[in-house]
Symmetry: C3
Subunit: 406 residues, 3 copies
């Protein structure tokens, strides 16, 4: 092997390792989703949270492997193994990394519909989203259709530059949040959440679990954003530090605006991370801090408006968190991405608004159709008796702490 | 430094970093073992689980550093520091990575004998296994004896190809599971587990801890399998995705066969991962999915047969999980590794059966001798009083949640 | 791009990735700090622990970004984005990595002053330390002043070789521990901790959280020490294995000396890791084991002397753990670093004693001034009523397990 071949092999090895590292980091975020939900629901629905996230992950893997990824990128793995090994499995590593994004969709929705949705129908809904709806929009932005995100796609021709979503503020988070909204509305609030028009917040199970879930999400997020470079040779310290600054901006804003509330500071950090994904490669660090601060305020205010004014029972606040802060992230890339605001340029606010708008329209329509359809076919809500009993005993025949039965 | 030297140094740096990354990933699995056990026992034995896993890890490190690794690979570190630094500490990183495998042995056994084994004697048993028994079989397969696994060893000459165990379905998991079986049998069931021939399952402490432990194991497993390539330049996306698909196959099979049981879906994922280790480098992804599904069914069925029919009190089900699913993994590499089943070839079902058989024989004999010997010398079981009190108070003088005493 | 440029880009990419990996590992240690504290306090101060660690992290990020890092290294990021991207963001990645060290200071102090310190003033104290005091000493050792640690600094000229602190036994841990001591003394013990001169240990909330916190710290520590190489091309397996051996040495020593106490074995592992940081690049592995064993004994003995003899209410034992074991680590580098004790040489016990002494003096003076000042201005201690109620309800208006209110 000569030097040139040696270098090429080392580059390829580094790229495969880099993507696997990133994929594993984002995989670990799914444990975060599980603990965030387990901490935010009541004790009688804790086992359900863990079982649901792992089931959703597993089903997502299968449908995205066989359907979603081939749909979005035109690459199938039903080929001889020699072909799969030809590039040291780079395409497979790429699939793994993108799966960890796709599987966020059911995990996001899960938090909004917790404590009253049926287990089986939610798995089916998740499979439809990960197998078809998410890959469709993904293909428009990152994948083979490229109409919105492609450098020579329709939007690039229309507005001068394509829609920019580096790590999925819109593709992943806004999509998840806006798919969740119809599900939450169709399901309606949990029993006892609103009594005679009065809001009666239901108690959380565990702040430590909520915190553990948040930490797992925050930690894994650095894989989410950093490995979105796609190959190690394009890794960027800027992406890491922008993610960091938006995260702490969101946390601090939520801390201040919520007057030291622990639930808000944790979710505020996540809001900052969600908002920074889209432009983390082109923001100046100071802009990333501002984007995160605004995201933290957005979440803190919108969650209260959603649940107290509109009386929408979004248990984990996934619509303001992923939906609104994600949309804000897409728009922010079209603001702070401009060079005159310190950004690296190559963005257009028009493209960003169109890209975000397309996501919201697809998500709202698809979410409404899928949940209305499933509701008509088999029902999507637990029976009143099962909801009162809790899905742990009703669906999984076990309590979170079985000794406590004794 | 010329280009050639620069490239060589970068390759070596990448390899050392890669192995350390893998070692740390598998080290984190030991936190997983601790939480899986802490969640699966009763509250009175939770502190013991944490203390035992960390003690076992610590003792394993010392004996494997001074005895086990030198025994298996003929490399000692009792040499001048200049020599240790010569290869940027590659050999040391290699030791660290392989230690994380060796230390799985006491961690696996720990789950089977939980709630009634003595603390001190179990540490001694672990030291014997990690210092002598495990390295012996390791040397036969991966190490300097190479009789079973060496490309020019006895088995390679006898059956055409050597025994193939890429990441330790057999070397680590089957060994651990079949060493645990005699320990479990010699100890006998926990007080109250079987009353007058009737099975009375004892309650778990915490599904959240069980889930946390499983997640830590699942996440770290990608280090276990991916870094088994040994050097970064041989990293393979196929290994990662095969691990992934076997994991979700095991989880989904267990979910279906257990009718939504949360304990089984978590352990099913682990069963899939255990089974895929051996052939993760040579399976086609679709085969990996099948191997995982079968592993999930094996665990679900065998655990019930073991504990309900044979009335063996294997608390965490380590014999069906690590022992049987591990053996299945070794055999599966000799089935789906063949090219006509989509595999990369270079395997023989005869070699796989001999390799697996050798492991089982060594483990059963060694496990029986060690535990019988320790039982005769000092006893291996807690006194009836200590078992009823719980090992937390009896051995460690503290409860898991000390405030609850008040 | 020719070969030479390709290799240079790959080296730079590897270095950036390596530092980000390390930074994320140490970031995850902050979840460890949170759980270690949450497990070690009473249930009424658990939410406070999580909120405090995340707030401290967030404030630390902002002040170290704008003030601390520029102060210590003379590099500011308030420059055009083109400049930040020029080196693939290497400087930003370097900032991220060093921030994770700086932010340990308030996290360390937090554990000592838990359960009775005010939330707001502690955040201000942390900001002062991370923005000014820590960077000052950091600049003397690692940074641009280099008087103590620079190869041509004052100490190097005075004693022949500079102060050696590879990964921060002194710069981070001793600094944190000795800053905490005056805070602990000025605050005084928690209500009820000592009654009429009699020590009345207050119960811990949760051994599982204490264990989880310790595991997160132990795992992340391999990023702390390994990535202290600064660039991937200087990665060393020796650093990893020395960290490992010191960790298990500390754990085993604490296990033996505390007679199987679970709290001590966990903290003993941390003591070993703290002590090995300084010399992990120059110790022989056997020496690292010894350094860790001594650190484990130091912690076990000093914690008892501190809390029982001197009646200092250091809740998590951060002064013996970080302060004394950290100082021991700095001195140990000046013992086992010598070639005649197996080390790689290049150290002087005189330099080590001066470096450690300077840290202690700066920390004691700064800690006393800052806490005395804050105490005079606004008070640093909770009101008696708030302390009895617990800071969860008093400051954050929520309990750790809100359902338990019902």
């Amino acid at each position: 092997m000569n030097l040139s071949q040696g270098l090429a092999q080392l580059v390829q090895s580094g790229n495969v390792f880099f993507l696997i590292w990133g994929a594993v980091m984002v995989f670990s975020m799914h444990a975060g989703f599980a603990f965030l939900e387990a901490g935010s629901v009541r004790k009688k629905n804790v086992v359900n949270a863990f079982t649901k996230i792992l089931s959703d992950w597993s089903v997502s893997t299968v449908v995205y492997f066989f359907i979603g990824f081939p749909l979005a990128y035109g690459i199938t793995f039903l080929t001889p193994i020699s072909q799969l090994l030809g590039d040291q499995g780079f395409n497979l590593a790429h699939f793994f990394f993108l799966l960890t994004f796709a599987a966020c969709i059911p995990a996001i929705i899960s938090g909004g519909i917790a404590e009253r949705a049926q287990f089986g129908t939610q798995i089916i809904a998740g499979a439809i989203f990960v197998g078809l709806i998410y890959p469709l929009y993904e293909a428009l932005v990152w994948g083979r259709f490229g109409i919105i995100g492609g450098v020579s796609g329709w939007l690039a021709n229309f507005a001068g530059v394509p829609f920019h979503d580096f790590a999925g503020s819109v593709v992943v988070h806004a999509m998840g949040g806006w798919l969740a909204l119809p599900a939450i509305l169709i399901l309606g609030p949990r029993l006892g959440r609103y009594l005679k028009g009065k809001s009666m917040p239901l108690p959380l199970h565990s702040i430590p679990y909520l915190s553990l879930g948040t930490w797992l999400l925050m930690i894994g997020w650095f894989g989410f954003n950093v490995a979105s470079a796609g190959v190690m040779t394009r890794v960027s310290g800027l992406v890491a530090v922008n993610s960091l600054l938006a995260m702490v901006g969101g946390a601090l804003a939520a801390l201040v605006f919520s007057k030291n509330d622990s639930v808000f500071i944790h979710n505020g950090a996540l809001a900052g991370l969600i908002a920074v994904c889209a432009g983390s490669d082109i923001f100046h660090p100071v802009a990333a801090l501002i984007v995160g601060i605004i995201a933290g305020i957005i979440f803190t205010k919108c969650f209260v408006i959603e649940t107290e004014v509109f009386k929408i029972d979004d248990v984990l606040g996934v619509w303001p968190l992923h939906g609104i802060a994600g949309a804000w992230g897409g728009i922010a890339a079209g603001i702070f991405g401009y060079e005159f605001l310190g950004g690296a340029g190559g963005v257009s606010i028009v493209s960003q608004l169109i890209g975000v708008g397309a996501c919201l329209v697809i998500a709202l329509i698809a979410g409404t159709i899928v949940y209305k359809f499933l509701d008509a076919i088999s029902g999507i809500r637990l029976s009143k008796r099962d909801e009162m009993l809790g899905s742990d005993l009703a669906v999984h025949r076990v309590k979170a702490y079985p000794e406590e039965l004794l």
